[in-house]
């Protein structure tokens, strides 16, 4: 039976050709651009709108897509509880680097905020916090003077206001275009955290994809509690530089979240869906009413 139908179709096909005038060919449907995103890890085509609902996580391989700071804020804090701080601080071009202003404008357009760091106060299930989020869509979340200043002011604000501090890092490192000024922001931000620490205040650092270079080697690595978001790339030197230096291939899983966990550099790996819940839990643990004796 199986091929009897095939033979019938072939015979009738020949006949149909004599009846039908022209051969009809079908071209693929030209769908609009940008409807689908490619998952960097498994290559699956993902429908953008579904991704938004699913918190930018690939349903097939659980890859965590990079998020803008605004999306991250919306996902993390209580609805409408975010109040921005130091929004007026923006970058200049101290070294007169060619093309820097252009890059800044592209960053503003992509991230819809005016620098690579969104910060202010907000609430997570009612607990008031100071919160800052680096935006990797704004010049790779790179830290120049403006970002350094905003991070430092957020830390100083949370120190004077006695608030727990949460910073989400997503950065390629210090911003080259501002040279030595960017480098010094590492010391400035770390110094501010010393005072926050001396006031016995809680600082949770969440390392998201990617956290490397100058940001990793400063405020991002100084959290009382260090959380790595699942499937994030976290490290100091770029993989390319390391490969050139040691002339060897890098081991599998190098500089991933599990790498950092197994080498004792982070406390926890948290899936993006559980992040808000975990932050709430940690905040509650630190609101400590003394246990009645």
């Amino acid at each position: 039976m199986n091929d009897f139908l095939e033979q019938r179709k072939k015979r009738l096909e020949v006949f149909k050709k004599t009846v039908r005038k022209k051969e009809v060919t079908y071209k693929p449907i030209n769908i609009p651009e940008g409807l689908f995103l490619k998952c960097d890890q498994c290559g699956a085509a993902l429908y953008e709108k579904n991704l938004q609902i699913g918190q930018y996580i690939c349903p097939f391989c659980d890859y965590h897509f990079r998020m803008s700071a605004l999306n991250r804020m919306h996902l993390t804090v209580d609805e409408g509880s975010f109040e921005p701080l130091f929004d007026g601080i923006q970058s200049l071009n101290p070294l007169g680097m060619h093309g820097y202003e252009e890059k800044l404008n592209i960053g503003k357009a992509l991230s819809k905020i005016n620098e690579a760091f969104l910060c202010g106060t907000a609430q997570i299930v009612g607990s008031k916090i100071a919160i800052g989020i680096l935006d990797s869509t704004f010049m790779m979340g790179s830290m120049g003077s403006a970002v350094g200043e905003k991070v430092t002011r957020l830390i100083e604000y949370s120190t004077t206001e006695k608030l727990p501090l949460i910073i989400f890092s997503a950065s390629g490192g210090a911003r080259m275009q501002e040279g030595i000024f960017s480098l010094m922001q590492m010391a400035k931000t770390s110094a501010a955290l010393l005072k926050h620490d001396q006031e016995k205040l809680l600082y949770i650092s969440v390392l998201t994809n990617p956290t490397t270079g100058g940001v990793a080697a400063s405020f991002a690595s100084l959290g009382d509690i260090m959380i790595a978001e699942k499937s994030s790339l976290i490290g100091f030197a770029g993989a390319r530089v390391i490969k050139q230096t040691i002339m060897q291939d890098l081991p599998d899983g190098f500089q991933t979240d599990t790498f950092q966990l197994s080498h004792g550099q982070v406390d926890l790996i948290v899936h993006r869906r559980d992040m808000r819940k975990m932050l709430h839990q940690l905040l509650k643990l630190h609101e400590g009413k003394q246990v009645a004796s």
């Binding site: 601080i89 200049l92 070294l95 010094m184 080697a217 490290g235 030197a237 040691i246």
Partner: protein, 276 residues
């Protein structure tokens, strides 16, 4: 005769240029090297120890590149691992315990980019030093001797007074690295160097460093000129800083780094416009 940035880069990396060990031998008496981070191993990219400067006991932290090939390999070309930074902090805490000032000599192409370095937390090692050096209640003087390689240099570079040798450089990344990113061609390092503003003169103007140590013909030709100028500078600054009370010392050190950064702050009214 002002030298181009690229010429200074070549001098900073000159094979005959004096390294930290030379400075220690010249300026520090009774030097005893102290080794190891008590956690993993000793990292010889950073030499640490105690000795006397003008008869005052000081703690020395010095990034050493080595001169002969064997020395370069032994000192890993001056590129520290995390354990190097841990050792430096251990010795600096010890300096605070015994109320000794700290002299930190910077000469490194950068923190070592290796698998072991990442495994042992290179980022955090540097970050923790940046934070803790702000807390040491003893004077810290930083000397940028040759190459100030980005985070690797800054990891032992937080202090009250930063002086930099005339032919030294201090930058966010190497001119070659900068060229390969901006021009996609690392051979354009010279062009990059002249644009990056990484010389002592640039940094003095930017207020990043406090003093330039004149070298005369250069540390590789007549080292004594540079060494004497350094000695005079250190003598002046240690005397000044040792007289200062601890709280002002720390407050000024914090403010020195707090004020670094060039940005604009638009007033609130302008904010409304951008907030459309």
């Amino acid at each position: 005769m002002s030298k181009s940035a690229w010429e200074i880069v070549k001098l900073a990396r000159h094979p005959k240029r004096m390294t930290s060990r030379g400075v220690i031998d010249a300026l520090i008496s009774d030097f005893v090297e102290l080794k190891g981070d008590r956690l993993y191993r000793d990292d010889q990219a950073i030499i640490g120890g105690i000795g006397k400067f003008n008869a005052t006991p000081v703690t020395i932290i010095a990034q050493e590149k080595g001169i002969t090939t064997e020395e370069k390999i032994y000192h890993n070309f001056g590129m520290p691992h995390p354990e190097g930074y841990h050792k430096a902090l251990r010795l600096m805490r010890q300096a605070e315990k015994f109320n000794r000032p700290i002299l930190s000599i910077i000469d490194t192409p950068g923190a070592y980019p290796g698998i072991g370095a990442e495994e042992r937390g290179q980022a955090r090692a540097i970050a923790y030093n940046l934070q803790q050096m702000m807390d040491l209640t003893v004077p810290i003087i930083i000397v940028v001797l040759g190459e100030g390689g980005s985070g690797g240099a800054l990891g032992v570079g937080v202090g009250d007074y930063v002086c930099m040798f005339e032919n030294a450089i201090y930058s966010i990344l190497s001119p070659e690295g900068f060229a390969s990113i901006i021009y996609r061609d690392s051979t354009k390092a010279e062009q990059a160097a002249n644009m990056m503003k990484i010389t002592a003169q640039d940094l003095l103007e930017f207020g990043i460093i406090e003093e330039i140590i004149v070298e005369g013909e250069g540390l590789h030709l007549e080292p004594n000129v540079g060494l004497n100028n350094l000695k005079k500078a250190l003598t002046r600054q240690f005397n000044r800083l040792l007289k200062m009370n601890k709280t002002t010392l720390l407050k000024q050190r914090y403010q020195k780094f707090r004020d670094i950064g060039v940005y604009e702050e638009r007033g609130d009214e302008e904010d409304e416009q951008t907030e459309d």
